[in-house]
């Protein structure tokens, strides 16, 4: 199942050249770029692991692409995203976020129904990926 989270997620995966252009846009806006990865793609999992610290004061996407490649080499079978943080007053928040790497096999999600008192049905979304313990999930 193709995970759709963040920008461009309904498009085919961005090529490196396209990723570079998006980063270039973010740098032009004076935003700081961070790289994060996870093997728990649940939409409510906001705590992805950071790949190094966010990168401030960069002028050119080449340095970020270097880190993206290093992250892919180390965490290639996980989801990796790039995010851009706007530190300007009034925003001080994340302005961009898009996926730049996916595991070979994306297990997708299960809709879990739990029947409660009075035949009330509760619904939950569970990622198949998290069935196994962390570290043994993908690949």
């Amino acid at each position: 199942m193709h995970l759709t989270q963040g920008q461009f997620s309904y498009l085919p995966d961005l090529t490196d050249a396209e990723i570079k252009k998006q980063i270039e846009y973010a740098l032009k806006q004076d935003w700081a770029i961070g790289i994060e990865f996870t093997d728990d793609p649940h939409p409510h999992n906001t705590y992805w692991s950071m790949w190094g610290t966010p990168m401030f004061d960069l002028k050119d996407p080449a340095g970020i692409m270097m880190e993206v490649k290093a992250c892919r080499a180390a965490q290639g079978d996980k989801y990796i995203k790039i995010l851009a943080f706007d530190s300007h007053k009034g925003f001080e928040t994340q302005r961009m976020s898009f996926i730049v790497n996916r595991p070979k096999h994306e297990p997708g999600f299960e809709l879990v129904r739990s029947e409660g008192a009075g035949r009330k049905v509760g619904y939950a979304l569970r990622s198949y990926a998290t069935a196994k313990p962390a570290g043994a999930r993908q690949g």
């Binding site: 990168m55 002028k59 080449a62 340095g63 970020i64 270097m66």
Partner: protein
């Protein structure tokens, strides 16, 4: 004929390309603002010609690996290494070799960490910031400390070498330092020496060049020498060159700063009269001759 029209018929007009990059403007500025330094300027022109021809070749589909342009600037203090490095970014940017006109200027402290595991992220951080432009490492020989084999400088050099090789089209590295110490540095780091294609030596200035530099500095600071001060300055330069710790243009700048100080004191001591523009601008012989180099 525009460059594009020429390309259409499989011919390239180097003149048009030259005009398009407006590199001539930068050269004129270089000639105006940098006195002397003929070998350096020659080398810069050669590099510019290489890049221009490379562009012409590319426009006809004659692809080749981009030439490596890492450089080392060696020379005595005050010979203009830093100034030229800053210009280099502009020149390479105009010729389309680097994507951005920016220089990140660092020394050992910015690259080398304090404890195990600190150096790599620090060096990488600097490299990432410099990507797309020029990384200028001043006094690069401090990176290597032979007297301490556990020095972290070696780690910084290794990362630097790797990026110089892998990210050739993203980054130009310029190392600068005094000639003899840079030579020792390259001797003990052959990998570094072999990855640097351009070793540019900055010669010391001659006395008349130093005087022209003084004139340029005075003009940019909106001062001027009167006739006697001109003679005094020439005299000063000759005497200062004989003395220890002479640092070429830097010594001249310092001398002028002290002359300004004395001029200000002289004007302040004579207060009670109104000063005109000329008085505020003029440095007299007395302001220069009060220097310690004239002491018997």
């Amino acid at each position: 004929m525009t460059a594009l029209a020429a390309i259409a018929e499989e011919r390239v007009d180097l003149d048009a390309l030259y005009a398009e990059t407006s590199i001539g403007e930068t050269f004129d500025q270089l000639d105006r603002e940098l006195v002397g330094l003929t070998p350096v300027k020659t080398r810069i022109r050669e590099i510019a010609a290489l890049l221009l021809v490379e562009r012409a070749r590319r426009s006809l589909g004659l692809e080749a690996e981009p030439p490596a342009l890492h450089m080392s600037f060696t020379g005595n203090p005050g010979t203009g290494k830093t100034t030229v490095a800053r210009r280099m970014a502009e020149i390479l940017h105009r010729l389309g070799y680097v994507r951005r006109n920016h220089v990140v200027s660092v020394t050992r402290d910015d690259l080398v960490g304090q404890y195990i595991g600190h150096t790599a992220p620090k060096t990488k951080d600097v490299l990432k910031k410099a990507m797309g432009g020029v990384l200028f490492i001043d006094e690069a020989y401090y990176l290597y400390r032979p007297e301490n084999e556990r020095d972290y400088g070696q780690e910084a050099i290794e990362i630097l070498l790797q990026v110089m090789e892998d990210n050739r089209d993203d980054l130009v590295v310029i190392l600068a330092g005094y000639k003899d110490r840079m030579d020792t540095f390259f001797e003990s780091n052959p990998g570094m020496a072999s990855r640097i294609a351009h070793h540019v030596d900055f010669p010391d200035y001659a006395a008349d060049e130093l005087f022209r530099i003084a004139e340029l500095m005075v003009a940019t600071m909106n001062y001027r020498f009167d006739a006697e001060a001109t003679a005094a300055m020439k005299d000063y330069i000759l005497r200062r060159m004989e003395q220890p710790r002479f640092a070429n243009a830097r010594s001249i700048r310092n001398a002028l700063d002290r002359a300004r100080l004395r001029q200000a004191n002289r004007l302040f001591a004579e207060r009670g009269r109104l000063l005109d523009r000329a008085a505020l601008q003029t440095i007299t012989a007395a302001d220069i001759r009060a220097s310690r180099v004239f002491a018997p």
